[in-house]
C-alpha cells in the first residue's frame, strides 16, 4: 500500500506530501488541484512501468501535456523569485519500500518521452536501483531501470509489490454514455475501461465469481440494495433484451429487472436504466472484480448520483475496500457534500483531504483532523456535509 506520495514541481503542485490511507477522499474547489494530484500518481505509475510517454500516460487516464504545462511555472511573488524548475519529482513509499524519480523534458524542444534524470527504488535502506544524474548519459534516459530490474525480484518482495501497485494505477472517469454503451471506450482495460466501458462483461464476471467468493456475493448483493427500483441485475447478450435501435450494438449489455413493472415487460438494459444504477455497478466492479487494480483513482466519483445515493454508496464502497480479501487502495475526488457523510472517518484507514490553492496559486493538501469534537457534531446537528458547505472544513470555492 502507498503510505506517502510526494510531488514537487508538477503543475500546481510545487511541493506536496500526502499520507494516504486505504480510502482517500479529496474535496476542493474546481481548479484547486485535485485532478493534478491524481495525475501526479499517474505519471509516477508510468515511470514505474518504464516509460513516460503520451501513450503511457493516456493509458492511465492522465491528460498528456507539454513540459511547459507539466512543470510548475508560478509567477514571481512577494519575497520569492519566479521558480524555474528543471525536473518533476515524484515519490511513493509504503510497506518498507519506496520508488522516486526526477523526470526531465526540455521546455524549448519537448521530446515524445520524458527522461529519467534520477531514479531510486529502495527496499528499506537497500537501494535496488540508484540512477544518479550522470548515469543518464550512459544508459537510455527514456527507460526506467526499476521496471527492467523488477523481473529479478521475488514475487513477495515488498519493493516489487510497491512497484506493481504503482504500475497498475489508473484514473477512472466514468461517463454515462460509455456506461450505457452508446459511446465508445477511449481506454479499454481489464476489467473495465477508464470511462466505464466493458461494464456488462465485468458484471457478468463478478456475478459468476459469487460461486467461489463470499466477498463477491456480498458486494453484488449490497450493490443491488443500493438500486432500490431493481429486483435483480446482470448482463445479457444484446440480442436477448429489448433494446432501442439507437443504442450502439455491443455483444453484451447490462440488464435490470424493474420491480414495479409487469413481469413480461420488466427487463431493461443499461441504455434505458437510470445512470445512478450504472455508477453503482461500476464502483462495485472496481471493488469486487479480481482483476481490478489494487491502487486506483476515480475522478468525480459522485457523477450522476442523487446525494443520498452518493452517501450510501460511499459508505458501502468504504466497507468493500476495507474488507476486501485483497488489500486495495482508492483515491476519490468529489464535489458532492453528502459523500462526506458516508465516510467512516473514525477508521484511520479512511481519510478526508481538502485541496486548496494558496494566494500564489500553489496547491496545498490538508488532511481534515478528525477528533471527538468533530465526530460528535457530525453525529448531531452538523453533519460533515453541512460543515463543508459552511466552509468550516476548508476546501470550498471563494467565488
Amino acid at each position: 500500500m502507498i503510505e506517502t506520495l510526494s510531488v514537487r514541481q508538477f503543475k500546481s503542485l510545487e511541493s506536496v506530501e500526502v499520507q494516504l490511507g486505504h480510502v482517500n477522499v479529496f474535496i476542493g474547489a474546481n481548479g484547486s488541484g485535485k485532478s493534478n494530484l491524481l495525475e501526479a500518481m499517474g505519471v509516477l505509475s508510468a515511470a514505474a512501468d518504464g516509460k513516460v510517454t503520451d501513450q503511457s500516460l493516456q493509458q492511465r487516464g492522465v491528460r498528456p501535456g507539454v513540459p511547459a504545462l507539466y512543470k510548475s511555472s508560478f509567477r514571481k511573488s512577494a519575497g520569492k523569485p519566479a521558480p524555474r524548475p528543471l525536473y518533476i519529482f515524484l515519490s511513493a513509499a509504503g510497506g518498507g519500500a519506496s520508488y522516486s524519480v526526477n523526470l526531465h523534458n526540455p521546455l524549448d524542444r519537448p521530446m515524445p518521452a520524458w527522461q529519467f534524470k534520477t531514479e531510486s527504488w529502495k527496499k528499506g535502506t537497500q537501494e535496488l536501483v540508484r540512477r544518479p544524474p550522470a548515469a543518464s548519459r550512459r544508459s537510455n534516459p527514456e527507460q526506467g531501470l526499476a521496471a527492467l530490474l523488477a523481473v529479478e525480484r521475488a514475487p513477495t518482495d515488498p519493493a516489487l509489490l510497491l512497484l506493481k501497485e504503482l504500475q497498475g494505477y489508473v484514473i477512472y472517469s466514468p461517463s454515462t454514455g460509455v456506461l450505457r454503451g452508446t459511446a465508445p471506450e477511449p481506454q479499454s482495460r481489464q476489467p473495465v475501461g477508464l470511462s466505464g466501458g466493458q461494464l456488462p462483461a465485468a458484471i457478468h464476471q463478478v456475478l459468476r465469481s459469487r460461486r467461489e467468493s463470499k466477498y463477491a456475493r456480498r458486494v453484488s448483493r449490497e450493490a443491488l440494495e443500493l438500486i432500490d427500483w431493481a429486483d435483480s441485475y446482470g448482463s445479457r447478450r444484446a440480442s436477448r433484451i429489448p433494446l432501442s435501435p439507437a443504442a450502439a450494438a455491443s455483444p453484451r449489455v447490462v440488464r435490470f429487472t424493474d420491480r414495479y413493472m409487469a413481469e413480461d415487460r420488466n427487463v431493461l438494459s443499461g441504455y434505458d436504466a437510470s445512470e445512478g444504477a450504472l455508477y453503482v455497478l461500476f464502483l462495485a466492479v472496481l471493488a469486487a472484480h479480481e482483476s481490478s487494480p489494487t491502487l486506483c483513482a476515480v475522478d468525480n466519483a459522485d457523477h450522476g448520483l442523487n446525494p443520498r445515493l452518493a452517501r450510501s454508496l460511499t459508505s458501502r464502497l468504504c466497507e468493500w475496500y476495507l474488507k476486501s480479501p485483497r488489500p486495495r487502495q482508492i483515491l476519490l475526488s468529489t464535489h458532492n457534500p453528502l459523500v462526506l457523510d458516508g465516510l467512516p472517518l473514525k477508521d484511520d484507514r479512511v481519510r478526508l483531504f481538502t485541496v486548496s490553492r494558496t494566494n500564489t496559486g500553489r496547491t496545498t493538501v490538508k488532511r481534515v483532523t478528525i477528533d471527538e469534537q468533530l465526530l460528535a457534531k457530525a453525529k448531531g446537528e452538523y453533519p460533515l456535509s453541512q460543515l463543508w458547505v459552511m466552509g468550516h472544513l476548508g476546501g470550498i470555492s471563494n467565488v
Binding site: E14, S15, S77, A78, G79, K80, T354, S356, R357, T358, N359, T360, R362, T364, K366, V368, T369, D371, Q373, L374, K377, E381, Y382, L387, M390, G391, H392, L393, G394, I396, S397, N398, V399
Partner: protein
C-alpha cells in the same frame, strides 16, 4: 514551502474580502496563505432565506450567531478552528450607528446603536467590538481570532491606499477615520480614476492595495490595530 497558513474570513461584502486578503498578504510577505471566505457565502446574492446569512453587517451578525451555535454557544468552539489557523471577522465602524431593526434582525439585547463621538475612532470601534463579541458568544477576543473594524468603512482604507493625496486624508488627527461616508468619495472620483464597488474592480487594484498597505497602516489607527493583532496571532502559530 513554509507551513501554509489557513485564514478564514468573515466580511460584510465581496469587496471587503479583496481588501482584507490584500492586507493580510502585505503583512505576511512570502507566506503561502489559503483564504476561505466563510461570509458572505457565494450563493447569497439575494435576501437571506432559511439558513442563508445574507450580505452586509446583518450577514456577519447571522454568521456569528450560526457559527456560535455550531460551536456550542461560542464561535471559538467551532470546528472551523481545526481547519484554519486564524479567523478574521470584519464589520465596518459605521454599523455602530445602525439598529437591529434596520438589518431585519430580531434581537432581545439592543446594544446597537453604540456610536460614540469621533475622534477618537477607537471610542466607537471599541464599543462595536464588544457588540460583535456578544454576537460571537465571546467575552473577549478568543485565541485564533482577529476583529477588523475599519472606521468608518473599508472604503476609508481603499482611498488611503489608492489615492494617498486625497485632500481629506490631509486632515490632521483622525479626521479621515471619522468621515461619515468615505464610499461617497470613491464614487465622486473623476471618471478616469473611479472605481466601482465590485469584486472585479477591486481585484484589479489588489496589487496596489498590497503595495500601499504600509502607508495605510501607518496613517489609519484601525488598520494599525488590525495589523498588530493579526501579527500577534500569527506569531503564536508555527512557521
Amino acid at each position: 514551502m513554509s507551513e501554509v497558513l489557513h485564514v478564514a474570513i468573515v466580511v460584510e461584502g465581496p469587496t471587503d474580502y479583496v481588501v482584507l486578503t490584500a492586507a493580510v498578504e502585505a503583512l505576511l510577505p512570502g507566506r503561502e496563505i489559503v483564504f476561505t471566505q466563510l461570509q458572505p457565502k457565494s450563493s447569497e446574492t439575494l435576501a437571506p432565506v432559511g439558513r442563508e446569512t445574507g450580505l452586509g453587517w446583518a450577514g456577519v451578525y447571522r454568521w456569528c450567531r450560526q457559527a456560535s451555535r455550531e460551536g456550542g454557544g461560542r464561535v471559538s468552539g467551532s470546528v472551523l478552528f481545526g481547519s484554519h489557523d486564524v479567523l478574521i471577522v470584519q464589520v465596518d465602524a459605521d454599523v455602530a450607528g445602525k439598529t437591529y431593526r434596520s438589518g431585519h434582525i430580531e434581537e432581545d439585547i439592543q446594544d446597537l446603536p453604540c456610536e460614540r463621538p469621533c475622534p477618537p475612532p477607537s471610542a466607537t470601534t471599541n464599543a462595536l467590538r464588544q457588540v460583535v463579541l456578544r454576537w460571537m458568544g465571546e467575552a473577549a477576543v478568543p485565541a485564533g481570532c482577529v476583529l477588523c473594524t475599519p472606521s468608518k468603512s473599508m472604503e476609508a482604507w481603499v482611498i488611503a491606499a489608492l489615492f494617498p493625496n486625497h485632500r481629506l486624508l490631509k486632515q490632521k488627527g483622525s479626521g479621515w477615520e471619522c468621515h461619515a461616508d468615505p464610499e461617497a468619495q470613491l464614487s465622486q472620483r473623476p471618471k478616469k480614476s473611479r472605481i466601482r464597488k465590485t469584486r472585479k474592480d477591486y481585484q484589479s487594484k489588489s496589487e496596489e492595495f498590497v503595495r500601499a498597505w504600509p502607508a495605510v497602516r501607518k496613517g489609519l489607527s484601525e488598520a494599525k490595530r488590525f495589523s498588530k493583532e493579526l501579527l500577534a496571532q500569527i506569531a503564536s502559530k508555527p512557521q
